[in-house]
């Protein structure tokens, strides 16, 4: 195994005061002053977190995936705790795009919060229709496309599980938006070949990818002797899945070293965030950890700067994918 000596070839070795670390990052052409986002569905539209830290001071809020129409979401129970993780089956409860624009998005704009709007659809066309409602909003940081939705035109097969369907949704969204708005495709690791899915969305015009979404999973209520979640299966998130997320980021970065990756899945500390950045992420999103610690995005952002500084990284961007360099050199 390779010792730290190899680091001489990378960034400087000497520790740097964390206050001097430049932790701004790039998502494609867009410069982001801070590297930690909230994960979609884990911060609603940010209001609930503003009590705990200044939500304008993190990378940004990624809003809960919004669809064309208002959705009630699923019946309860909607969640279960699992070892170092949780399972959810919310069913994309939300007010629909119009109400969202009028209320949530207006609030975020007024509050001057960097905002990534996550959108979803039941059909390719619906992705396009939702995206078009965002076309004029040039203040948005990006649009994240949640393609982990059942495609009603394809017997409920999840878009993100099929390269062609993923590409179709992204093409439609890309077309609906101006080129000023970066499009980030959100991938699931519930596939045989995540690199193949990444390739298809890049070809379709995605400016970056976000990963990973929750893993399809289930818990059974041993008293009721039926699945805990009303819908049966749900999505597994939290630190339990972090090693799967790191692997997915690693594989996609290995294939597409210049692709901006928004890494997520179980980030709980600055060290976890650094792990994803070394694997190839340009920024990270924090989801489930918020439920454990509502101040987490802010705390993790501070810890990440410290972790970078300790390792002599003066700039976050120097650390992106750095583990690949070290690993290659050790072969």
């Amino acid at each position: 195994m390779v010792g730290t000596s190899l680091r001489g070839s990378g960034p400087a070795n000497a520790p740097i005061d964390s206050l001097l670390v430049d932790s701004s990052t790039q998502l494609g052409s867009v410069r982001i002053p801070a590297p930690v986002f909230t994960a979609s569905g884990c911060a609603a539209s940010g209001q609930g977190l503003d009590n705990f830290f200044d939500i304008a001071a993190i990378g940004g809020i990624v809003t809960k995936s919004i669809m064309l129409r208002a959705r009630s979401g699923r019946a309860t129970p909607r969640m279960a705790e699992t070892p170092s993780g949780m399972l959810n089956g919310i069913g994309l409860q939300g007010p629909g795009i119009d109400d969202f624009l009028e209320n949530d998005l207006a609030w975020l704009q007024a509050r001057k919060v960097r905002t990534v709007v996550s959108i979803a659809g039941n059909t390719v066309e619906e992705y396009g229709r939702v995206a078009r409602r965002l076309r004029e909003l040039d203040w948005l940081t990006a649009v994240e496309v949640n393609i982990s939705c059942p495609n009603v035109e394809s017997r409920g097969q999840v878009f993100a599980c099929d390269a062609a369907a993923s590409a179709a949704a992204i093409t439609e969204v890309r077309r609906a938006l101006t080129s000023n708005t970066p499009v980030i495709a959100k991938l699931t690791a519930d596939v045989t070949d995540i690199v193949g899915i990444a390739r298809s969305v890049i070809d379709a015009g995605a400016d970056g990818v976000a990963m990973i979404n929750t893993l399809l999973a289930m818990s059974i209520d041993l008293d009721q002797m039926r699945p805990v979640l009303s819908g049966g299966t749900g999505g597994l998130s939290g630190p339990a899945i972090r090693p799967v997320a790191v692997r997915a980021i690693w594989q996609v970065h290995a294939e597409f070293p210049n692709l901006p990756i928004l890494g997520m899945g179980g980030v709980r500390s600055g060290a976890d965030a650094l792990e994803m950045i070394l694997a190839g992420a340009s920024a990270v999103s924090v989801g489930t950890t918020i439920f454990n610690d509502p101040s987490a995005p802010w705390r993790i952002q501070r810890e990440l700067r410290e972790e970078l500084g300790k390792r002599g990284f003066g700039k976050l961007t120097d650390a992106i994918g750095h583990a690949h360099t070290v690993f290659e050199a050790s072969k």
Binding site: N51, S72, M79, D293
Partner: protein
């Protein structure tokens, strides 16, 4: 948000057993000062390397904002699962990561009407404090606390300290009247013509209380207990079918729009269901 919750590291200044429950007193700045009856806190459980990520919710049973420790709150813990067992085994001087005060408190009547408190098991935890406030407002107070068995009846002592009548029920008859709180509720209500019933306990009890209150032309304010992942309104796990002012039922977050609801707004029969008339249910074809 209807208030400004804080996240803070509290310090346990005392743990005492009462029957089946552990009452934990926690010095925690920023919570006791603004909390009102019906609000709750969430607590991170299991320590630094815990496999349990989700915070556990507990009613604020009482506050003391003039203690020598600074603000102090009491919570009443029923050790049922791994998280509550961990909490119940904490000791004096241990630290706890708290968020609160959360949720909407019980609304207090403007006029001094007759009120009844109905508590099931540890659901009674937040009622004595509420009772104190009601009595300060000049309300007539009758309390009914019940449980399956004597060790699970909470609040006897606390209720007596506050005043008003107290009826205890146990299902096995080991203490007080044998039966359920709802068996004695109609009589207690009619005796002083109660205008408001406040209830906290298991959902079937709340549902029965709601029905009795309605039958008696009274208002019921119920504090519900839904599984909550975040407690701060960001996750959408804790919803209930609640009828809004326009008569539309919405899946409503019980952590920020509750935990206290006017019982008339709660569609008890439809909890854990998705009736087709719920706002946005028609869009749920896909998933």
């Amino acid at each position: 948000m209807n208030n400004n919750p804080v996240q803070t590291i509290g310090k346990i200044i005392g743990v005492r057993k009462t029957g089946f429950y552990s009452v934990i007193s926690i010095a925690c700045a920023g919570i006791a000062e603004t909390a009102r009856p019906g609000q709750f806190v969430t607590v991170a459980v299991g320590g630094e390397n815990s496999s349990m990520l989700l915070r556990r919710a507990f009613s604020i049973a009482s506050v003391d904002d003039r203690s020598s420790y600074g603000g102090v709150i009491d919570i009443v813990v029923s050790a049922e699962g791994p998280g509550t067992r961990w909490l119940a085994s904490r000791k004096r001087d241990d630290s706890l990561d708290l968020v609160g005060p959360l949720g909407k408190p019980y609304p207090i009547p403007k006029n001094p009407v007759a009120t009844v408190l109905v508590g099931g098991g540890y659901g009674a935890a937040n009622l004595p404090w509420l009772g104190k406030v009601l009595i300060q407002r000049g309300c007539r107070l009758d309390s009914i606390y019940g449980a399956a068995t004597d060790l699970k009846v909470y609040g006897q002592l606390e209720a007596r300290r506050i005043g008003g009548s107290l009826t205890i029920t146990t299902e096995d008859g080991s203490l007080g009247t044998m039966g359920r709180v709802t068996d004695v509720l109609p009589d207690v209500m009619s005796k002083h013509n109660a205008a408001v019933v406040y209830a906290c306990g298991p959902m079937p009890m709340l549902s029965a209380v709601a029905q009795i209150a309605q039958d008696n032309g009274a208002i019921a304010q119920v504090a519900v207990e839904e599984a909550m992942a975040c407690g701060i309104g960001v996750c959408m796990t804790c919803v209930l079918p609640i009828i809004d002012e326009n008569g539309i039922t919405k899946m409503t977050r019980s952590c920020i729009s509750g935990p206290v609801f006017d019982a008339a707004q709660v569609r008890f029969a439809d909890i854990n269901k998705l009736p087709s008339d719920v706002y946005g249910a028609d869009a749920m074809g896909g998933h």
